[in-house]
């Protein structure tokens, strides 16, 4: 990943600033865009969510991590009022995570599942003059269907055949809070609408509900237990903030 040349020139001409946003853990983060400016996200580093990371691995007792295949494909979703940008990542559901002999925080030796889950890099070019919502999700639980389906095309949502979840629709991604509907809104299984974006004001006050395991909230750890920090998704977003009105031809 390299900063695009034009953005770099804007920085050196004094019209733009390079910035980063490091966040994660929750199902949505917000990259706030000041008034009279716009941003260009030119890349990010994403570390997938691994719900099983640190789980006890005891083959003798029959205690092994229980995998959810949905986690094998994870989406990083950027949503501005202008557009929707989904990126697919492999979720590191694999066998190279071997049993490790660890002491738990309580001091008891336990064998735990600790696969290596490095950050994955993507170059992007996301232009927005409104706040950008950043969320993570799994694929859903729909089994492979052998019936004909529509050919996926580029749309303002994820392709329907990959994201629609039937009775599990509220697990693919947490909802954006829609102030008009006064409820969670799930933009990913609906066509894009004005309600699918972030609220226009007071974004920070609207809450999202972290349901990283697709409906089942992990058990909280103890006060000295950092397991869950090691499980959760992390992202560092690279962007340039241009301190001038967004040109009409970019909107």
């Amino acid at each position: 990943m390299i900063i695009p040349n034009y953005l770099e020139q804007l920085i050196h001409s004094g019209k733009a600033k390079a910035k980063v946003l490091s966040t994660g853990l929750y199902m949505q983060s917000v990259l706030k865009v000041p008034a009279n400016s716009y941003v260009v996200i030119y890349g990010y580093y994403f570390r997938p969510y691994v719900p099983n990371y640190g789980d006890i691995y005891d083959t003798v007792a029959g205690t092994t991590p229980i995998f959810d295949a949905r986690q094998s494909v994870q989406y990083v979703l950027f949503k501005s009022n202008n557009d929707f940008y989904p990126f697919a990542h492999y979720g590191q559901l694999e066998s190279n995570g071997r049993a490790a002999s660890f002491s738990s925080p309580a001091g008891v030796n336990q064998v735990r599942f600790t696969p290596n889950v490095p950050h994955q890099e993507r170059s992007t070019y996301i232009v927005s003059n409104s706040d950008v919502g950043i969320a993570f999700s799994f694929i859903n639980q729909v089994g492979v269907a052998f019936s004909n389906a529509n050919i996926p095309i580029d749309t303002q949502t994820l392709p329907a055949q990959l994201q629609y979840g039937g009775e599990n629709i509220n697990i693919s991604a947490s909802g954006y809070f829609d102030p008009a509907l006064a409820s969670n809104f799930y933009p990913l299984n609906q066509p894009y609408s004005t309600y699918a974006g972030l609220p226009e004001a007071n974004q920070v006050t609207y809450q999202l509900w972290p349901r990283p395991t697709s409906g089942t909230i992990p058990n909280p750890g103890t006060a000295t237990d950092a397991f869950y920090n090691a499980k959760f998704p992390l992202i560092t977003v690279m962007y340039v903030q241009v301190n001038e009105q967004m040109p009409l031809n970019l909107q």
Binding site: M1, I2, I3, N5, E8, I11, H12, G14, A18, K19, V20, S22, T23, L25, Y26, Q28, S29, V30, L31, G43, Y45, R47, G54, R98, A99, A100, S101, F102, S103, P105, N109, R112, T114, P115, N116, V117, P118, H119, Q203, V204, T205, Q207, L208, P210, I217, N219, P220, T222, A223, T224, D225, A226, F227, Y228, N229, A230, L234, T236, M238, V240
Partner: protein
């Protein structure tokens, strides 16, 4: 990681120089500018993570194992330029795996009379591209994630700001765990006790961004203490092994030999 084209052109125009800075080990590093008539841009770095259990003794028969602190799984590389704060996160697996197979090595460390079984896991060096202009000396610090447990409560949505996001850097009763001290660009050392109990930062937009000097009850990087306290063993001489556990960083930057422009920095 490639040098950005504009910086490359400045070099070939004779206005800039490409440099690297290799640091690490300690809690803070300073990338210093030679004088006030230049400035720079950091365009990337390589980070070898902190591995506090690298080389720890392993004796399966007696139940001797590394005691893994999972907070070291997520590490932060942080730059402060005096005008901005740049946090980068790294997932750093403590892969001391298969103590009876692949990843544990039987080695004789310098100063030891005999071979011992030690945890020698894979160390995943990581790089990040970035674009960090600076006109003051740059402080570079390393930290580990805190020990906050997962909260199922609703929280404020993390947003971009001049510190790490709140939900990842400070919360509840375990705020004393995040990051060690940081470099003050004006060489005024400010300890956590003088700042606040909030993550080592006094405010979100404070030029004197400094990390903690000392957190007696927290998780912080002590280059030698882990060597003797976290491996369920007592060793006093093999400090090279201890050094191998420490974080290292190589920073790529370009020094531009012109007056720092006010509209960039």
């Amino acid at each position: 990681m490639t040098i950005p084209s504009y910086l490359e052109r400045l070099i070939h125009a004779g206005k800039a120089e490409a440099h690297i800075y290799s640091g690490g080990y300690s809690n803070q590093n300073i990338l210093a500018l030679p004088n006030d008539n230049c400035w720079g841009v950091i365009y990337g770095y390589w980070y070898k993570p902190y591995m506090p259990y690298f080389g720890a003794l392993v004796e399966p028969g007696s139940g001797l194992h590394p005691k893994i602190d999972f907070s070291s799984m997520v590490q932060w590389v942080q730059f402060t330029t005096g005008t901005k704060f740049w946090p980068f996160q790294h997932f750093c697996n403590q892969t001391y795996q298969n103590y009876d197979a692949d990843y544990y090595g039987v080695i004789r460390n310098v100063g030891e009379p005999e071979r011992k079984t030690r945890a020698i896991g894979n160390v995943d060096e990581q790089y990040r591209s970035c674009y960090i202009p600076f006109k003051y000396n740059v402080g570079i610090g390393f930290g580990v994630n805190n020990l906050i447990e997962l909260s199922t409560n609703n929280e404020t949505i993390p947003t971009n700001n001049l510190t790490t996001p709140n939900q990842l850097s400070a919360a509840g009763t375990t705020i004393d765990t995040v990051i060690d001290r940081f470099t003050d660009p004006f060489s005024t050392f400010v300890s956590i006790q003088q700042i606040s109990t909030y993550s080592g930062f006094r405010t979100q937009n404070d030029l004197y961004v400094s990390l903690r000097e000392n957190a007696a009850t927290g998780v912080y990087i002590q280059p030698t203490n882990y060597f003797t306290t976290d491996c369920a063993e007592t060793e006093t001489v093999n400090y090279t092994l201890g050094s191998a556990r420490m974080p290292y960083i190589t920073v790529n930057y370009v020094q531009i030999n012109t007056q720092p422009p006010k509209n960039i920095l």
